[in-house]
């Protein structure tokens, strides 16, 4: 089989890359190792309304709930409320990823991409050392999909980059290991996302509750890998739910790993581009990855169409992708990596003190950067090393 571009992985990043390239006239194959796109879900499903809407028209079929804002709780229970339009990238819509991911793949198919499910990449094909496609297993048969460019959108477990010589392996401090329940509890506030901080609740991470309508919510937590132990995320989540939501009915369980390494050294090689979690483009502070992956996927699709047209699919031809994503989403990812490295060192007492210091301020109109600026002003000794992030 021959095409211009083969995209490995039909998550939001891969589908947007495939759709964008296909719309520009390229012959695109979008392959997905699972038999059902979007399932199993490994995500808390929260995204900002405005940023999502800038890339795709919202469809009620894949929006589970809309929220008004977020509540942030310190370990001692003190809290602040942030309004929806300023709460960062993680609130606004709570998606139904099983439907959303499939809809994005269908958009790619409508744009002309050939979608192949149950097709797992085995290795890159090389001719005279140059990457020329992907060897894959499809329904138990090995097939070659020849292409000028391979886009690796193969998620946290990405292999495409490693096959191309890009070391994407995550060290324990580079990953949040997570567990989540979709649960019913009559006390769930359908209008606010909630975030609970605390080293006992979730070492080096946080607990989240994202409402999905009618008193359903994704309640989950992430633990920084360097402070985790076998099975810790599930045990801690059970403890949290038993203590705080004793009447909750759990109807689904999700586990996963979120890269929080920040930008990797490079995301392109000759004939290869990495997108989304495979490129470690998820946000180190929030763990959010959907929108960054989609944005990177669009850039990748645009750049690859130019590269194929010009006949230069080597590093030089793909360099515009590297530059463009670092100029857009890359800056925030790098800033948030510094924040993450700082905040995972804070004690519960530090977190309580920070929350108390800002409780008398009006944070409802602040974004994360604005809130950080105020926190630094109020706690200069503790947060002095973060001042470069708000300059």
């Amino acid at each position: 089989m021959r095409c211009d571009v083969v995209v490995v992985g039909a998550g939001p990043g891969g589908s947007m890359a495939a759709k964008t390239a296909a719309e520009r006239g390229l012959k695109v194959v979008l392959m997905e190792k699972r038999q059902e796109i979007g399932d199993p879900v490994r995500c808390a499903e929260g995204v900002s309304k405005s940023r999502l809407s800038s890339m795709i028209k919202p469809d009620p079929r894949w929006i589970a709930a809309e929220v008004k804002g977020a509540r942030l709780y310190a370990p001692d229970g003190s809290s602040i409320v942030m309004s929806e339009d300023k709460s960062g990238d993680e609130v606004g819509y709570v998606l139904e990823r099983k439907i959303f991911d499939r809809a994005l793949a269908m958009d790619a198919a409508r744009a002309g991409a050939k979608v192949m499910v149950k097709t797992r990449a085995l290795d890159l094909i090389r001719t005279d050392g140059a990457v020329k496609g992907v060897r894959a297993m499809r329904y138990g048969e090995v097939i070659d999909i020849e292409a000028d460019v391979v886009i690796g959108a193969d998620g946290v477990e990405s292999k495409v980059g490693r096959w191309a010589g890009i070391d994407t392996s995550l060290k324990p401090g580079d990953i949040e290991v997570c567990a989540q329940f979709l649960l019913y509890d009559k006390n769930i506030d359908n209008e606010y996302c909630e975030f609970f901080l605390g080293n006992e609740l979730a070492p080096g991470g946080y607990v989240w509750s994202f409402p999905k309508g009618e008193h359903l919510a994704n309640v989950g937590l992430g633990v920084i890998g360097s402070r985790s132990e076998p099975g810790a995320p599930v045990k801690l989540l059970r403890r949290f739910v038993e203590k705080r939501m004793p009447e909750a009915r759990i109807v689904e369980m999700v586990v996963g790993g979120v890269p929080v390494s920040g930008p990797i050294e490079r995301t392109i090689a000759d004939g290869v581009m990495l997108v989304g979690d495979a490129a470690r483009q998820s946000d180190p502070i929030t763990g959010g990855g959907i929108l960054n992956a989609m944005e990177a996927g669009i850039i990748a699709g645009e750049v690859v169409s130019e590269a194929v047209s010009s006949g230069d699919t080597g590093v030089e031809g793909l360099m515009a992708y590297e530059k463009r994503w670092r100029e857009s989403i890359g800056k925030q990812i790098a800033r948030h990596l510094d924040l993450k490295e700082f905040f995972i060192r804070l004690s519960d007492e530090d977190l309580n003190n920070l929350m108390h210091s800002i409780q008398s301020e009006d944070v409802s109109k602040m974004d994360l950067r604005g809130m950080l600026r105020v926190l630094i002003r109020l706690n200069p000794k503790m947060l002095w090393e973060l001042r470069h992030l708000v300059m």
């Binding site: 392996s169 599930v234 999700v254």
Partner: protein, 59 residues
């Protein structure tokens, strides 16, 4: 050797992402461990469900 309790595994792929030698592969709900495994135990420590363990090879 790494053993997988398939009744506990949540097939999330976190172990695959942290494997330094690319020895793990997630195939739908099935986690494969290849001969390239160096038994570093990183995947065991990070598994969210505790499905992996590092055991002495038999015989």
């Amino acid at each position: 050797m790494i053993t997988v309790n398939r009744y506990v595994c949540g097939y999330c792929g976190a172990c695959v992402g942290v494997c330094p030698v690319c020895a793990l592969e997630l195939v739908e709900a099935w986690l494969e461990v290849s001969d390239g495994c160096i038994e570093c135990g990183r995947c065991v420590k990070l598994c969210p469900t505790g499905a992996l363990s590092l055991e002495e090879a038999q015989g």
